[in-house]
Structure formats: structure tokens, C-alpha cells
Amino acid sequence: MLTILNIAFRNLLQAKRRTILLGLAVTIVASLFLVLRSVSASVSERMIESATTLSAGHVNIGGFFKSSKKASAPVLVGREELRAFVRKEVPEAVSIIDRHRGWGRLISPASSINVGVNGIIFDEEERFFRSLRLAKESEYKKDGSQQAVGNFDDLKQPNNVLIFAAQAKKLEVGVGDTLTFVTEASRTQSNTADLRIAAIASDIGFMSNWSIFMPRQNVLDLNRVSDDTTGVVMVYLPSQDQAETVMNRLRESFKTKGYQVLDHDPNPFFLKFDKIAGEDWLGQKLDLTLWSDEISFVIWVTAALDLVSFFVVGVLSIIIIGGIMNAMWMSVRERTKEIGTMRAIGAQKGFVIQLFLTEAVMLGLFASLLGIVLVGITLSILNGLEVPITNEGARLFLMSNNLYFSLHAGQFISTLLLFGFITGLAALYPALKASKLRPVEALMQGK
């Protein structure tokens, strides 16, 4: 094997110009592939982070209460019993919390925005507050200071609200200012609350643009519902990979216990009102979802990115395969005498195939390794610089306010293997042709 490696390496060195040109092409495509994969991975990670921090647990037990045929409120009664049942049925849960949820309009003297509201119990939200950071004043105020003002602890008290930097910027407000929240209470009647901004947190992807957090009691008062109600019970597991199994298990447990459970609909709760309002039942039904269901409306972003990556890399790979096949075929033609000599002194067909394949795979591995190193260094520097994304559309698409690329060892290894395989595949046909040359004919052609 060492002999083959040695000969292949020397052959690559001998055909320097060809090796450099082909290697460069492989390096560029491998780099592009890696960049696209890291963008897709960072969007996906941001989605999971945003979803599981802002609006969902790994498994969510939400549901709807219909007091009349056309009504559909995202409210569950029997909160204590529900939580106790989930706690008993999911002993592996890392944490189980519940939040009230709804929507409304947040109004400042300067502007207004539509938001989703989360009613939280401060002492239960350790995970949430651990992942938040108070925003520097400069993140939402022109010429603001580098100081982070506000206090998450104030959310223990009613009539306080937590908003995010992008919201504060739009509303032109700061910590301590008062906002009016207008929402719909039971039977569609308007209700309002005046809320003091206790804290402004740094944005968590674009999803934080439409989420606000206030003490649970405020949401109870706004919606005029009793203390034994909730919006959603959120279950956090040791790993998100367990989510589907746990959800299916819980679904069966709830049914056995006698709860009414809706069929699995992989969409966020706010996209289900229409459907629920049109259904002919009264009372309460549970709706079990995964974290990914609650952000299904943005999952298309990663699907689109993956599709683009697949298409671009696919087209470029075909070009590379053509180039390598052509180069290898030229190499076979140039080295016909050499092949004939090797075959004449006893080299088997397999040896010739191995020789050409090794040469191509070696080229692919070296070139893609170079691409990986270059991309790795460049993206690490860019990540370190925390370059802000100023374009709103790009922010929305990339789900981040700063340029961020997710880099993992797995991406490096798979890129290396993929391009080693692609170059090997491209060399297969010329290698087979070379191996089929008869020694006498090869020696004659060599003359």
C-alpha cells in the first residue's frame, strides 16, 4: 500500500500544473460546501435555541378551550393536575414549567408592535433567564451607553415586562418606561395593562422580535381567567432527540387517563385557531407538540438552505467530476508506456486501478483539507468579530443579528470524506480503462 501511496504522490508532484488546477477547483467547491453547511447549521441551531428558550419546551402540552362553538382560547384548565401528571409520566425531564400565552399590541408613545405574550413564574424560569443577557443601551438607543441597565428580578413583581432590544428600538423606549399592552380577554373583549419595562434583553434571533414576557398574574388578570389555568406545560429533556418518543408516550398516557387529545398537528398553536374554531366540540382538548412544530413556519429556511447547498454543490461536483475524469484520462494516455511496463513485470489489473484511484483520492483529500483549513480560519475570525447584520431580510433569513457560522468537527470530516469519494468516483472510469490495457499493446502505444 505504501508503494501505491508513494507512486500516487510522486505522480501528483510530477503533473504539478494539472494537480494545482484540479486541486484549486476541489478546494473552492469544498470550501463553498462547508460555508453553506455552516450557515445552514447555524440557522438550525439558532432556531432550536430561539424556540426552546422563547416559546417551547422539547415537548409541549398545550391545547384549546372552547366555551362556545366558534371560540378557541389557548387556555387549559386544571393546571395543577396537568403538571403533576406530566411530572409523573416523564421522570427523565430536566425541568417542567408552564406559561400562559396569548397575543396583543404593545404600544409606546412613539410606536406600536404586535407581540406574543408569555406569562411566566419567575422562580421557575431559571433556564430562560440563564440564556438571556441584558442588552447594552447602545443595542437599542442611538448614542446609548455600553452599560446594560434593568433587572430581570423585577419580573417577580406584577406590572413589569421584559422586552428585547429590537422591540425597544422600534418602540423607542428604555428601561423604566411604561408601555400599554392591549389584548383580547374572554369573549373577545378588549383589555389593557400598563406595564413598566423591567429589563431589555439582547435579541435571540429574529423570533425574539415578537415575544414579550410578563408575570403570570398579569396575563391571568388580562385574560380574566382563574389561577388554575395555564397556556402550555413545557417539558425540557436531557436531549432533544428524546422529544418525539416522550411526546408519543405522553399522548397515550393522556388518552388512558381520559383526557381529550387532538391529533398531532405539526404547527404552532397560533396557526390552529381557525381550524379549532371551525370544529364542532365544546370543552377542552390537549394539543401535544414538539419544539420543532412550534417553529414549523420558519423551518423552511433550513430546508431552503439545504436545497440551495445541494444544488450548488451538486452542479459544481459534476463539473469537478468531468475535470478529474478528463485529467485522469489524459494521465492514462500519457502514462500508457508506464502502465504497459508495470503490467509486463507482473502488476495486476487491481494494482493499476488502485494506483489511479489513490492518486485522485489523495488529490481530493489534500485539496478539501486545504479548503477546510482556510474556511475554518476565516469563519472563526468572522465569528470572533461579531459582525452585525444590518439588512432586515438577511437577519430574518439567517435568524441572527450578527454574522455567525456554526463550525463542527463533524462538518470537517464529512466534507473531507465527501470530496475524497467524489474525486475517487471521478477517477474510477479512467482507472478501469487503464487496467484493461493489454501490456503488449500498451508498450507498443508507448513507442
Partner: protein, 258 residues
């Protein structure tokens, strides 16, 4: 006896904020019924509306739309005709459900009673017939002057079974014409949300009712939470003639949108 009567009236005057109650509970209820009755048509209704929306940043939007009502069946529809970008968009209310049709998406979406019409400060009930007596319990507040008009001021609280956007209303009813001149809408929290003025009314003869019907010619809506934003609705070409039988359907609205 006269002294006792004098003292009783003085005491009543003190307890009623220095003003004698001009309408008792029964009279108040009758007044509310009268307000409804004067606007009730019993048949079909159609008008052209011009909606002018002013935002607090100074920007403005203008729309033209056709409003259709069939009060007997509690059906209502608004179809936008101008500007071009909004033409074909429509709201349809049937069986107490309000739907929005977006022609660009070809999609219907359920809306709540609070939903604004076309992103303005106006709501569906601004264009609908008056159902105050059915949906609210009223109490007399005071007799006041609203500009040059002498008015009865009433406070209305939504009945427990009523599905209305505003749980609390205050009305200023012209003592002479019995038309509503001003209306304020409050949230459950008591916060003032909208103030609406009805500066002019038209009297029309309705064949279906066989009596006169009063319709507002102009409605001015002021958002009291987002100060500076407001909507003016001008109603023209009001017709009380029967409309096509199949008009209040999704299919009809969709065909008009093409």
C-alpha cells in the same frame, strides 16, 4: 311636607353629583331601544364608504369600499374597490363569524370582532346596525352639552352573554334627534380605547321597514391608546333596496375579487 320634599331633592342632588337624574332606568332603556330602532332597517343595506386612515407618524392611507348588510340574517360584508393594491379584499360576516379574504393569496382567514378593517382604526361593528339594547345594559350618567348640542350621557356595560369588542361604552345621545353623537369605548381595565364622533346623520325612507331610517353620513374614529392615529369614514350612495339573494357567500365575494 314641602320642607321634606325640598330636603329630599337637595339630598338627591348631592348624591347625584350636583345634578338631578334626568332619565330613570326604564327611560334609559327605552332611549337605548329608540336609538337602535331609529337605525334599524330590517331589510338590506348597501353603501359606498371612503376610509381615510391617519397614522401617528403623519402617514395616511385611503380606501374606497362597498358595504353590504342583510340585517334580518345578521349578515355583513365589505368589499374594497380602491386603491388597486387593496381591490378585491373583503370581509364577510356570516353566522357570527367574521372572515377576511385576501385575493392575492386566494385565502380566507377567520377574524375576531376586534379585528381592524383594512388595518385602520375602524372595526366591523362601526359599519353594522346598532344592537345596543341587545348587547349592553345601560345606565344614565348625566345630561350634558356636547358643543351646541344638549345630550344624554349613558354608560353601557356588555351583557355577560354578549360577544362584543368593547366591554364598556359611553354614549352621548342628542336629546332632540336621539342620534348618537359621540361614543367612547373602554377596555375591561377601564382604559379609554377609542372615541368616535358621528357629526352628521341622514334620514332615509325604508320600504322594508315602512318608516324612516337614520344612517350616519360620517364617522370619525380616534385611537386613544395610540394617540395621533385616527380614521374618518364617509358613507355615500346609501341604498336600502333588496340585494341579490346569494350575495353573502364566500363564492360571491371571490368572484367580485377577480
Amino acid at each position: 311636607m314641602r320642607r321634606l320634599l325640598f330636603h329630599s331633592l337637595s339630598l338627591l342632588s348631592v348624591f347625584s353629583g350636583g345634578q338631578l337624574l334626568a332619565l330613570d332606568a326604564k327611560q334609559t332603556q327605552e332611549l337605548i331601544k329608540l336609538v337602535d330602532e331609529r337605525q334599524r332597517n330590517m331589510g338590506d343595506y348597501a353603501s359606498t364608504v371612503f376610509i381615510d386612515q391617519k397614522e401617528k407618524d403623519g402617514s395616511t392611507k385611503a380606501f374606497e369600499a362597498r358595504v353590504y348588510r342583510r340585517d334580518a340574517d345578521d349578515k355583513w360584508m365589505i368589499l374594497f374597490t380602491k386603491p388597486k393594491a387593496e381591490a378585491g379584499k373583503g370581509y364577510l360576516r356570516v353566522e357570527k363569524n367574521l372572515f377576511l379574504y385576501e385575493p392575492s393569496l386566494g385565502k380566507w382567514e377567520r377574524q375576531t370582532e376586534r379585528a381592524s378593517i383594512g388595518g385602520t382604526n375602524s372595526r366591523r361593528d362601526d359599519f353594522d346596525e346598532s344592537r345596543l339594547a341587545e348587547e349592553y345594559d345601560g345606565t344614565f350618567v348625566a345630561d350634558e352639552k356636547l358643543g351646541k348640542f344638549a345630550v344624554h350621557r349613558l354608560k353601557m356595560t356588555a351583557k355577560p352573554s354578549a360577544e362584543v369588542a368593547s366591554p364598556i361604552l359611553e354614549l352621548w345621545v342628542d336629546q332632540e334627534s336621539k342620534n348618537v353623537l359621540k361614543r367612547q369605548e373602554l377596555a375591561l381595565s377601564g382604559k379609554l380605547l377609542r372615541t368616535i364622533y358621528y357629526p352628521s346623520w341622514d334620514k332615509m325612507f325604508s320600504k322594508s321597514k315602512n318608516a324612516d331610517v337614520y344612517v350616519p353620513k360620517e364617522i370619525r374614529v380616534f385611537d386613544e391608546v395610540e394617540k395621533g392615529s385616527g380614521t374618518t369614514v364617509v358613507l355615500r350612495e346609501v341604498k336600502l333596496d333588496p340585494l341579490e339573494a346569494n350575495m353573502f357567500t364566500k363564492a360571491w365575494l371571490e368572484t367580485q375579487s377577480k
